[in-house]
């Protein structure tokens, strides 16, 4: 890649924005159909009541909240790649960060739907926002659900700003190549960017500070999501390990999702020169690390359940492993901790088919983890009188899940056609500048 010229990079990477073919429209139509079906299912749920989603006492949180946590987690690795690896000056991040950051924004836009879908009267969702109501009653800032709103809203805003800031110089490139109405639209979006020394200087400084702000933010967000559970007194939830455990899990699932998305993307757009096997291999190495952290966390949870001497805690964890949700539990263990270890073999982590397959397995495993944490704990709290099983999944729940996944991919499909999926500017930074002589005065 280092031998490429600036002009070549522009030419290669802008080909992704050419008018799409029939395949694209077919996928788009399918995606919209699934989304429409999901919207119908949600409207049915609103008209009929939450009971159609299989939620009843004692399992009042189930697949919606599990999927909420799942998508928030997916978002995290985008920020890891775009902000944290930027601060560490990791050069291989430049080619993949745009896709990862787009994934962050779209995953948050998807995650944000779930708490609203989970409301019996979703049109009153704004009650959780701080605004002066008629009765002078304000929101309860001691509630973790309010923290969640602040955390997720901040995360979405900062990620969207970071994503858009990174796009501006590339939008200027698109503007300069475009004609007609496209030139007007991209010209408006590029806001008059010219690449002057003054612009680069302040832009570079702002970008660095946004990365520096996004880094503690990303760690806080999943910690706060974990406190939705950890500050309650439900066995299996009430644990100090939850913050780091959730953050590690988030990055684990997110890295897998980056692989799931990058592999077809580089194939369809023939971006193998830019999104190389090394990139995928590096992601696989990171997944080995996060997989080991997950294994350690699962082990610690069981150890503490035993070592604490708390019989309820112990009963919950035995129930997880051998009870009604044992299948989901063992999927979680095998998919999240054992499957990533296969990447230790070089042959596996350099094989595209294996990378893609294992990334899907981890996605499933991480969804199963959230399901196990939420449902298995609620189903089996303290007194046996109040035990009960999750009455789902119902067709409504599954349709809404499919619809929201379609919502995520809809944004991705639009992104892949209307914006450069690989950062032109940051890839140019990697290659040698054009020089007349060997040295720069």
């Amino acid at each position: 890649m280092t031998r490429l010229t600036y002009g070549q990079i522009n030419r290669d990477l802008l080909t992704t924005m050419r008018p799409p073919g029939r395949l694209y429209y077919t996928i788009l139509a399918l995606d919209l159909a699934v989304l429409a079906w999901g919207i119908y299912a949600w409207s049915y749920q609103i008209r009929t009541g939450m009971g159609v989603s299989g939620k009843t006492h004692p399992v009042g949180w189930a697949m919606y909240i599990a999927t909420f946590v799942f998508w928030i987690g997916i978002a995290h690795s985008g920020t890891l790649i775009s902000a944290i690896l930027y601060l560490f000056r990791v050069r291989w991040r430049n080619a993949i960060y745009r896709t990862a950051e787009a994934m962050t924004v779209f995953a948050l836009m998807t995650a944000g739907l779930f708490p609203i879908i989970h409301l019996g009267r979703p049109w009153l969702f704004y009650w959780i926002l701080p605004y002066p109501q008629r009765g002078h009653l304000w929101i309860n800032f001691r509630s973790p659900l309010v923290w969640d709103v602040f955390a997720v809203a901040t995360y979405l805003t900062v990620s969207a700003l970071f994503f858009f800031t990174g796009l501006v110089p590339d939008l200027a490139v698109v503007r300069d190549q475009a004609t007609g109405w496209r030139r007007k639209v991209y010209g408006f979006l590029a806001q008059g960017w010219e690449g002057t020394d003054r612009q680069w200087r302040h832009y570079g400084s702002a970008y660095l500070f946004l990365a520096a702000l996004a880094t503690p933010l990303v760690i806080s967000v999943h910690s706060i999501v974990s406190w939705d559970f950890a500050v309650s007194v439900v066995p299996g939830w009430h644990s100090t390990i939850f913050g780091p455990y959730f953050v590690a899990g988030a990055i684990h699932s997110g890295l897998a999702m980056v692989l799931t998305i990058l592999i077809p993307l580089r194939k369809i757009y023939r971006l193998e020169t830019y999104l190389t096997r090394d990139h995928l291999e590096n992601l696989a190495k990171l997944i080995i690390l996060t997989g080991l952290i997950m294994a350690y966390s699962y082990g610690t949870e069981f150890f503490i359940a035993w070592y604490s001497g708390n019989i309820f805690e112990r009963a919950t964890f035995i129930y997880r492993a051998v009870g009604d949700y044992a299948l989901a539990f063992w999927i979680m263990v095998v998919a999240n901790t054992i499957a990533p270890l296969l990447f230790i073999a070089r042959a596996i982590r350099t094989s595209i088919a294996w990378l893609f397959g294992i990334s899907i397995v981890i996605n499933i495993g991480m969804w199963a983890e959230r399901f196990v944490i939420i449902v298995a704990s609620l189903a089996h709290e303290y007194i046996p009188f109040s035990w009960g099983l999750f009455q789902g999944p119902t067709w409504v729940e599954l349709s809404i899940l499919a619809g929201t996944a379609a919502w995520f991919f809809l944004w991705f499909l639009l992104f892949a056609k209307f914006l450069p999926v690989v950062s032109l500017t940051e890839v140019k930074e990697l290659v040698a500048p054009p020089l007349k002589e060997r040295t720069i005065p």
Binding site: Y6, V158, T196, D197, H202, A206, K428
Partner: protein
């Protein structure tokens, strides 16, 4: 500088020639320089001897404002309607710190964006007359404002530094 001033633009294909030109015009005493480049390069910044960006003060200001907002919002609204929940104090600082932290980050980020936009004077709908689309591909541009009588001397400096093309204000495309 007396009389009418004029803009001169040099277009360069090579980074080393470009930085040489920047140094030459600076030694000749010209300070009203704009350098266009397709990528940010430290060599250009060094040649221009640019100072540090003040954006960091906007980040700090935004962060402090967010921090204060977080405390004021949580404490005053809790005192305004003192309803004890969960047997906890009305002003419970530890949970409020979560809100304070998030608002610090949020306002810090908004401040950073605001600082950047103010400093680079964007958004703007019109591009600078000297701007050429080749600057977003692979060319470097040096735009310079000087007195009309100096224009020829400047053009000579740019050419001798290795400019591919030199344009005067009247030749700029619309």
């Amino acid at each position: 500088m007396s009389g009418r001033s004029v803009e001169v633009l040099g277009i360069f294909a090579h980074l080393d020639a470009f930085t040489r030109a920047i140094r030459s015009v600076r030694t000749s005493g010209y300070r009203d320089i704009t350098a266009f480049s397709p990528v940010p390069r430290h060599e250009v910044e060094e040649a221009l001897q640019a100072g540090r960006s003040p954006v960091r003060f906007f980040t700090l200001g935004g962060g402090l404002l967010g921090c204060i907002t977080g405390f004021v919002l949580t404490i005053t609204t809790s005192l305004h309607y003192p309803l004890i929940t969960g047997g906890k104090p009305i002003v419970s600082i530890p949970p409020f710190l979560v809100i304070v932290f998030e608002l610090t980050i949020l306002f810090g980020a908004l401040g950073t964006i605001l600082g950047m936009l103010l400093n680079i004077q964007l958004p703007r709908l019109r591009l600078e007359p000297g701007y050429d689309p080749c600057f977003s591909i692979d060319r470097f541009g040096l735009l310079l404002r000087c007195a009309q009588e100096h224009a020829e001397a400047v053009e000579k400096i740019l050419r001798s530094a290795g400019a591919e093309e030199v344009r005067r204000e009247e030749d700029f495309p619309d």
